[in-house]
């Protein structure tokens, strides 16, 4: 087919496919197709490509949508997903952050068991700067009230003035884990006691660096919290001792 005829056939085919052909154009197309299997085949191909173009171009057009505000609840849900899937950044020393494993266990546990979380916030003053500590207790096994009260009392005693709250089963820990309190120039710390795992996880941020350590509750929670206090005191001092930052 000559180029000119090629374009004419194309135009007739497009109009026919789009149901825009006039009677005269339809008759002209039929005339071209008569006795020409190659053109019939080409018409079929154009039909398929037109269907594909319609769908693909719709997507391309939509994918360049200029604006739209992400709802706040969606941002929280998505950041929780980031936490679950990717965890926190690896620390400067190259040590993998254990928080990812914690996150998975917590979320799986939350789906399977009643959860009681007691969260508190307390501020204490260390020699170098102000430190904000957030405390949570996770009880996947559904601890008896007496034991829970004892844990709560120990936490209150360790970080006096903490306001404790209890979360119902299924409440997501992700937002609490990823949301750090503001403390301009100071240190922020999260302490989470996983009663079922028998561990206390401590994570903190200080002057752009992160630190983390997990304590096994072997000789009782009181002893472990004492270790946590000592660890935090050491980490807080590290702010004025740069060498310690890379020696963890």
């Amino acid at each position: 087919m000559k180029p000119m005829n090629d374009q004419r056939f194309f135009d007739l085919a497009m109009k026919a496919i789009a149901h825009q052909a006039s009677d005269a154009e339809r008759a002209e197309l039929d005339g071209l197709l008569a006795g020409n299997p190659a053109l019939r085949s080409e018409l079929g191909r154009l039909q398929a490509e037109a269907a594909l173009a319609k769908e693909a171009l719709s997507l391309v057009e939509a994918s360049t949508a200029p604006a739209g505000k992400l709802p706040a609840y969606a941002r929280d849900r998505l950041q929780t997903k980031v936490w679950e899937s990717l965890g926190r950044p690896v620390e400067a020393g190259g040590k993998p952050d254990r928080s990812l494993a914690w996150g998975w266990r917590w979320w799986l546990g939350l789906a399977a068991a009643a959860t009681a979380v007691i969260v508190g916030l307390v501020v204490f003053f260390a020699p170098a700067s102000q430190v904000v500590v957030q405390v949570a207790v996770l009880d996947l096994a559904g601890t008896t009230r007496g034991a829970s009260d004892a844990d709560e009392a120990l936490l209150r005693q360790t970080w006096q003035g903490a306001e404790l709250r209890t979360f119902a089963a299924g409440d997501p820990l992700g937002p609490w884990l990823k949301t750090w309190p503001r403390n301009r120039g100071g240190t922020v710390v999260k302490v989470l006691y996983d009663r079922a795992a028998g561990e206390v996880q401590v994570t903190g941020q200080q002057a752009g660096r992160m630190f983390a350590k997990t304590f096994t509750v072997g000789a009782g929670l009181a002893a472990s919290l004492k270790q946590v206090e000592e660890y935090l005191a050491a980490e807080t001092r590290a702010k004025s001792d740069p060498d310690r930052r890379t020696n963890r």
Binding site: M14, A18, L52, A56, L57, E61, S63, R77, L78, L86
Partner: protein, 201 residues
């Protein structure tokens, strides 16, 4: 808008992801809306969120941050099509097949009732993302505008010529070029060719 760093995203940096979600949300939402608005408008936001959640899972397989937008579009498309298929299957099972010819907002007419039957659904997410990226990059704005006028909005040659201030004959030339570009892009997507061949049978 400055794009977030891929390395930061792959390491789960919260700030980088906040920026990425702001950047990608309009795309995921628009794609979900495109497919679901006439039939399942209440599902649009949920599908868009799910698409970005899946994107988070796949971010470590991405090699350049620019790949994220077409990938988000691709995932949102596939999830929306799946949602439509599930819902229509449920309705068929319950004997409640409602009319699918609901009107669509905007300048273009409603999509065809077979919205859940997508030739592009045969491509996996990476392949569709590649196709969309190629089409987005290869088609000049003027050419893409004319193609959208014809294939998406259903305007006639004459209407497009008037809208774009071009000769009627030029419209056909643009359309032909556009389909050739699509064909070339398809040649780099073997599964897409198979879908076309299946359509021709």
């Amino acid at each position: 808008m400055e794009l977030p760093e891929l390395a930061a995203l792959q390491h789960g940096d919260e700030t980088a992801w906040d920026a990425a979600f702001d950047w990608l949300w309009p795309t995921a939402f628009a794609i979900a809306q495109l497919k679901l608005q006439p039939f399942l408008p209440e599902d649009i936001e949920d599908v868009a969120i799910e698409a970005l959640e899946e994107l988070v899972e796949k971010v470590r397989s991405v090699k350049a941050v620019e790949e994220l937008k077409p990938l988000a579009a691709s995932i949102a498309h596939h999830r929306a099509v799946s949602r439509l298929r599930e819902r229509f299957a449920q309705k068929r099972g319950a004997g409640q097949v409602e009319s699918l010819d609901k009107a669509r907002d905007g300048d273009c007419p409603a999509p065809e009732p077979a919205a859940a039957e997508s030739a592009l659904a045969g491509l996996d997410e990476a392949e569709l993302a590649g196709l969309l990226a190629e089409l987005g990059a290869d088609l000049k704005p003027e050419l893409r505008g004319i193609l959208e006028d014809f294939f998406v909005c259903g305007l006639s040659y004459e209407q497009i010529a008037a809208k774009r201030s071009v000769a009627v004959g030029t419209v056909g030339v643009y359309l032909k070029r556009g389909l050739e570009a699509l064909r070339k892009a398809g040649q780099r997507q073997p599964k897409l060719l198979k879908e076309l061949e299946a359509f021709l049978r």
